[in-house]
C-alpha cells in the first residue's frame, strides 16, 4: 500500500527544536544497582584471576575445555566436572581499533578490543579482552599474546585483574 499513501505519520525533531523549547521534554535517570551472585563456576573463575590464573572447565563427555568455566556443558548438557588451569597466553582470534568509548566519546588513541583464544582451551575458545603495549598498526589476527596482570596486591578477583594482553615477541616466553 505504500504506493497509495502519500503522507506517512511521524514527526521529526531536531536537537535545536528541543533546545529551543519548541516541544516539551524532560530528563530522568534510573538508579539500578545490582549485586549479582557469582555462583560456583564464575566465582571460581574470579578467585583464580585474583591468583593470577585463567581458569577453564573441562567436559569429560565431549572433551571440550572452555573458558570461562560453567556448570553445565551447553553441547552435551552433562555437568562439567573439572576445573582446568589454563595458560595466560593465547592467540588473537580477531580485534578492532576502537575510537569511541562505551558512551560514545571520541578518543585519539584507539582501544584495541580482541577475542583471545586462550592456550589450553579448545580451539576457538577465547575471552574478550584488550591488547596493549603495541602499535595499533602492528596488530594482526593470529598474533600470540600474553596477559599483563595487575600487581598482586591490587587484584580484586575481576576480569580487570588482567590489564590487557601484550604481544609475545620472537624468542620471548
Amino acid at each position: 500500500m505504500t504506493v497509495k499513501i502519500k503522507n506517512f505519520p511521524g514527526t521529526s525533531l531536531s536537537e535545536q527544536d528541543i533546545a529551543d523549547g519548541k516541544v516539551f521534554s524532560l530528563h530522568d535517570t534510573m538508579r539500578a544497582d545490582f549485586g549479582w551472585d557469582t555462583g560456583v563456576a564464575v566465582g571460581r573463575y574470579l578467585a583464580a584471576l585474583k591468583e593470577g590464573m585463567i581458569l577453564g572447565a573441562r567436559c569429560r563427555h565431549c572433551r571440550k575445555t572452555v573458558v570461562p568455566p560453567r556448570q553445565v556443558c551447553e553441547w552435551c548438557y552433562r555437568p562439567m566436572s573439572d576445573y582446568v588451569p589454563l595458560q595466560d597466553t593465547g592467540i588473537v582470534n580477531t580485534f578492532s581499533l576502537c575510537y569511541v568509548t562505551w558512551d560514545v566519546q571520541r578518543i585519539k588513541e584507539p582501544e584495541i578490543p580482541a577475542v583471545i583464544e586462550i592456550d589450553g582451551a579448545s580451539p576457538l575458545h577465547g575471552i574478550l579482552h584488550k591488547l596493549g603495549e603495541i602499535d595499533p598498526k602492528e596488530v594482526r589476527i593470529g598474533m600470540r599474546v600474553k596477559a599483563v596482570w595487575k600487581p598482586t596486591a591490587e587484584r580484586l578477583g575481576a576480569i580487570t585483574d588482567i590489564l590487557y594482553f601484550r604481544p609475545i615477541l620472537e624468542g620471548q616466553p
Partner: protein, 388 residues
C-alpha cells in the same frame, strides 16, 4: 495433523526519524491505525496483539511492553511481548503466526516499536549492558566492538576487503532513496564515501553502520478463512524459523552465522523449499552493518561462504538483479529502530509480493520472499518466508 495457514493482510508504518516528537505509544498507534485502514478492519476484528520491541533502556521505561500496550491496540485484549534482541522485529510476526496457527485466534495485530532517541545522550551507551555483567562489562565494551570483531574475523577468514563490503551500504542507501519513510536514503552515495567516512571502530566506519532511529511498524495477520474474506491478495507465511546460539560468543567461529543457518533450514523445511537460491525471489536480510547483509546471505544458504560480496559486485542483489536483496533500503538506508526495522522488512515483502512497492517495486512479479533478522550477542537468527 493439518496445520493452519496464516496470511499477512495489512501493513502500516511511520516514517523512520532520528528523533520523533511522538511518544512510543503514539508511534505504535500511528502504525497500527495505518495497518487497520489498509485492510479495512477495526479493533473489533482484532482478537489478540503481539508486540515486539527491543531493550527497555531505549524507551527508558521498565517493562515497556506494558507501557506501550494501549498504543499497540491491546486494550482489554490478550497481549504479549516477545523479545529476542535485534531478532525481535522478524520474530514478532512468528509470534503472531503461532498465536493463529495454534487455533486460539483468527486475527492478530503485530506491532513493533522503538524510540531510541529517548536514551540520552546516546542510545549506543545502552548497549554496554548487553555484555556479561561479571566477565565482560568491567572492560567497558561498546556495541561497536562486537560488530568490529566479527567483521574483522569475517574479512580475515575469506579475504574480503572493506571496499567489497561498502558496496552493500551504497546499494541499500541508494535503494532507500525510493522509500518514503527512509531516514538515510541517498541516490548519489559512492563506495568512496563509505570508505572515507569517519572510522568508529576499525574496520567499521560511520557509513557502515545504520543510524539510531525512532519508528513503528504494524501488520495484521489472519487465518486462512478470514484472510480470503478480507483480501484477494493475501501474502502467506509459508515458513518460519528461529534459533539461539550459545551466550559464550567468544567460544564460537565468528566468521559464520550458524544460528542463521539453523533458523533458515527450519523455515525452508516448513515452506517445502529444497533449493532456496532458485525458490526465493526477494531477500530482506538484516543489515544493521553492511557486512551483516553478506554474512546473513551466507547463513541463509543463498550464497556460498565468503562469496556473498561477489553477488553484490555482479549486481545479482540489485533491485533489478536476479535476487534483489534489501530492495527496501534496509536498515542502512531506511533506518534502524531495532524491532520496527525488522518488521519493516516483513512489510516490504508484503508490499513487494502484492506489487504495491511503487518506485521500489522489484520487476518480474516476485512470488516468494524471505526476511531475516539477527540479534543478541551474534547469536539469534529469525527467518520468515512469505509467498503469494
Amino acid at each position: 495433523m493439518s496445520k493452519r495457514k496464516v496470511a499477512v493482510v495489512g501493513a502500516g508504518m511511520t516514517r523512520f526519524v532520528r528523533r520523533a516528537q511522538e511518544t512510543g505509544k503514539e508511534l505504535s498507534w500511528q502504525a497500527v491505525r495505518m495497518a487497520l485502514e489498509s485492510c479495512e478492519m477495526t479493533m473489533d476484528d482484532i482478537e489478540a496483539v503481539c508486540l515486539g520491541t527491543a531493550p527497555d533502556a531505549f524507551d527508558g521505561v521498565h517493562m515497556k511492553g506494558e507501557y506501550l500496550s494501549d498504543g499497540a491496540g491491546a486494550w482489554r485484549k490478550p497481549y504479549m511481548r516477545s523479545y529476542v534482541g535485534g531478532g525481535t522485529g522478524v520474530f514478532v510476526p512468528i509470534q503472531a503466526w503461532y498465536h493463529i496457527a495454534s487455533g486460539l485466534f483468527d486475527v492478530c495485530l503485530v506491532v513493533a516499536e522503538e524510540k531510541m532517541s529517548s536514551y540520552y545522550p546516546h542510545a549506543q551507551a545502552a548497549f554496554l549492558t548487553i555484555f556479561d555483567h561479571t566477565t565482560e562489562r568491567p572492560l567497558k565494551p561498546n556495541l561497536l566492538w562486537i560488530f568490529a570483531l566479527e567483521m574483522n574475523r569475517y574479512m580475515h577468514t575469506y579475504g574480503i576487503s572493506k571496499a567489497d563490503i561498502a558496496q552493500v551500504a551504497v546499494k541499500n542507501k541508494r535503494n532507500a532513496a525510493d522509500h518514503p519513510c527512509a531516514l538515510l536514503g541517498d541516490k548519489n552515495i559512492t563506495v568512496e564515501d563509505v570508505l572515507n567516512s569517519e572510522v568508529l571502530a576499525w574496520p567499521v566506519n560511520r557509513l557502515d553502520v545504520s543510524p539510531v532511529t525512532d519508528g513503528a511498524v504494524a501488520l495484521v495477520l489472519a487465518a486462512e478463512h478470514v484472510a480470503k474474506r478480507i483480501t484477494d491478495k493475501p501474502v502467506w507465511i509459508e515458513g518460519v524459523g528461529w534459533s539461539l546460539d550459545t551466550a559464550h560468543w567468544t567460544n564460537r567461529d565468528l566468521a559464520y552465522p550458524r544460528y542463521v543457518e539453523y533458523a533458515a533450514r527450519m523455515a525452508y523445511e516448513m515452506a517445502g523449499i529444497k533449493e532456496p537460491r532458485k525458490e526465493i525471489h526477494i531477500v530482506e536480510p538484516y543489515d544493521p552493518f553492511d557486512y551483516k547483509e553478506l554474512h546473513h546471505l551466507e547463513g541463509l544458504l543463498l550464497a556460498d561462504r565468503g562469496q556473498a560480496p561477489q553477488l553484490v559486485a555482479d549486481g545479482v542483489t540489485s533491485r533489478n538483479g536476479d535476487m534483489p536483496v534489501c530492495p527496501s533500503g534496509g536498515l542502512l538506508g531506511v533506518g534502524n529502530p531495532i524491532a520496527a526495522a525488522g518488521l519493516m522488512k516483513i512489510a516490504e515483502l508484503f508490499w513487494q509480493l502484492r506489487g504495491e512497492a511503487g518506485a521500489r517495486q522489484v520487476p518480474g512479479h516476485p512470488k516468494r520472499g524471505l526476511a531475516q533478522a539477527w540479534g543478541d550477542l551474534m547469536q539469534v537468527g529469525t527467518v520468515v518466508i512469505m509467498g503469494r
